[in-house]
């Protein structure tokens, strides 16, 4: 099927055209410079109003870039939740209106379902697999037995890993995007220079906690008699990154072993992190695991990722009703069961 997909659950307004749930024909994100220059440099962010301003343009751009038009589109995929209701409603209302006007089937998708299935847009991957979803708002481990079959194995108890990156970058005065800046600096620093805590590392189970690492970095910076710069800053970034990467990778490998899974998907914005990718590559070899990362353009929030589950649901006759509503909280485990 040729699907138009729409995402507006958090900061990004995004639309994409995806064929058969595997081939990305276009993948447009409003904060991308080329689109966003057209509306005067306004960055579409949290505000629902910004999503409203961007949505029509982004949808049109996705169709144009794919060399298609609404006449060819056979179905619509859209993020239903979780997220901010005001933001979600912009994408969902657009999708519902288009589906109704064009008499197209609609698939209302869980945002994280898109993220963890994103690698299927680029590679063949068999179920079951383990998924580590890491972003500004998520640090979750899921067992994935098929599309629509997810079990949460663990998640953060406080801050998401991406949030810890951004907050540490801010307190180090590194600016935005914090994760990329720390990653870059970390490559030049000594990861053993400063010993930061690895919360939860030696506790059983697959829960995470990143608030303590952030606080430890904060205390370390406050204790220094002069601003942290140069090599010292690179060492700090490398040591912080080592702590986060240690915990993420160790828990993920332990979960894969406990669940008897040999395939791992690492998805979400933090999956772009080079330090994390390198460590996973080493561990994959050591433990004979297959670790798959989406391309950077499919790591952050985007609409193309919705194409994988949307195509599956629509092809198997599981379309959403035209009156489907947005949901702020939606445990991934309940997806596919019809329960909310």
């Amino acid at each position: 099927m040729l699907l138009l997909c729409i995402e507006s659950s958090c900061d990004e307004t995004a639309a994409a055209v995806v064929r058969d749930g595997r081939e990305v024909l276009s993948n447009i994100i409003a904060s991308q410079v080329d689109v966003h220059a057209r509306f005067g440099g306004v960055v579409p962010e949290i505000a629902s109003r910004k999503h409203v301003e961007a949505i029509s343009l982004v949808v049109r751009e996705a169709l144009t870039a794919a060399g298609t038009s609404l006449d060819q589109i056979e179905g619509i995929g859209v993020t239903r939740g979780p997220g901010l209701i005001g933001a979600l409603l912009v994408g969902l209302s657009t999708a519902r209106a288009l589906a109704w006007a064009r008499q197209l089937p609609l698939a209302a998708i869980h945002h994280m379902e898109g993220h963890i299935l994103a690698p299927l847009l680029e590679t063949e991957l068999e179920f079951p697999f383990l998924a580590l979803a890491v972003s500004g708002g998520h640090t979750h481990l899921y067992r994935v037995d098929g599309i629509g079959q997810y079990t949460t194995l663990g998640q953060t108890r406080d801050d998401a890993s991406g949030e810890a990156y951004d907050k540490v970058a801010k307190l180090l005065g590194l600016g935005y995007p914090g994760g990329a800046k720390i990653d870059q600096l970390a490559a030049e620093g000594d990861p053993t220079a400063i010993s930061f805590p690895r919360p939860m590392l030696h506790k059983p189970g697959f829960e995470f906690s990143f608030s303590g690492i952030k606080s430890a970095v904060n205390r370390y910076v406050e204790q220094q008699s002069e601003p942290v710069t140069g090599t010292h800053l690179a060492d700090l970034a490398a040591s912080f990154q080592a702590a986060v990467v240690d915990v993420l990778t160790a828990k993920t490998v332990a979960a894969a072993k406990a669940e008897g899974l040999s395939r791992i998907v690492v998805a979400g914005g933090v999956a772009c992190n080079r330090g994390l990718r390198e460590r996973f590559a080493q561990l994959a070899e050591k433990h004979a695991l297959q670790v798959v990362f989406p391309s950077p353009s499919l790591c952050g929030d985007n609409a193309a990722m919705l194409g994988v589950p949307a195509d599956y649901y629509l092809s198997s006759g599981q379309a959403s009703g035209g009156d489907v509503n947005a949901v702020a909280s939606w445990p991934l485990d309940t997806v596919g069961s019809g329960a909310l």
Binding site: C10, I46, A47, G86, S135, T156, D158, A160, N218, R219
Partner: protein
């Protein structure tokens, strides 16, 4: 009572203090929660949630990216985090007023980033005085806040003496 200062010496104690607030909080109140990065705001908020009756196994995580999380207790907890916002206009887009004027407990982290004061009954300010030591200052803003503050204090003292038994 307008102001009350408490010292806590461990994360668990900060959470227990939050729990006292959650237990005592009436519906329809706004509580602001200030303090620098790593002070323990989310930790305190976890206590508030569980004190309010949110199921203990529910993860109460930082809403920095999501901007707000809703948890169901005996009344809903609207847990806001304004860290990524800078203008009061942003709050309108979030539908903040509808929540703040609703029948839940509205708990707002980083309200001091807004540049102008947000309406509230109680302001909680956490500061760090050591690795695990925290100073927590409660300031009642209106009569409902004063009433809540005296209940938080007695709930906290009862919880503390129960722990020491």
């Amino acid at each position: 009572m307008q102001q009350w200062r408490v010292a806590t010496r461990a994360e668990e104690e900060t959470r227990l203090l939050g729990r006292s607030l959650g237990k005592a909080a009436p519906a329809g109140m706004v509580v602001l929660l200030n303090g620098p990065l790593g002070a323990g705001k989310t930790c305190f908020a976890q206590g508030v949630a569980y004190g309010l009756g949110v199921a203990e196994q529910t993860p109460v995580t930082s809403p920095t990216y999501a901007l707000m999380n809703i948890h169901q207790g005996r009344v809903p907890l609207y847990h806001f985090d304004l860290y990524r916002l800078s203008r009061v206009d942003d709050l309108e887009d979030l539908g903040y007023d509808e929540y703040a004027e609703g029948q839940g407990l509205t708990l707002v982290e980083w309200a001091d980033r807004m540049g102008e004061p947000l309406g509230s009954s109680l302001v909680v300010t956490i500061s760090s005085s050591g690795e695990n030591d925290r100073q927590i200052e409660f300031t009642a803003v209106d009569p409902a806040g004063r009433q809540l503050l005296s209940e938080v204090k007695s709930t906290w003292e009862a919880a503390r003496s129960a722990e020491n038994l």
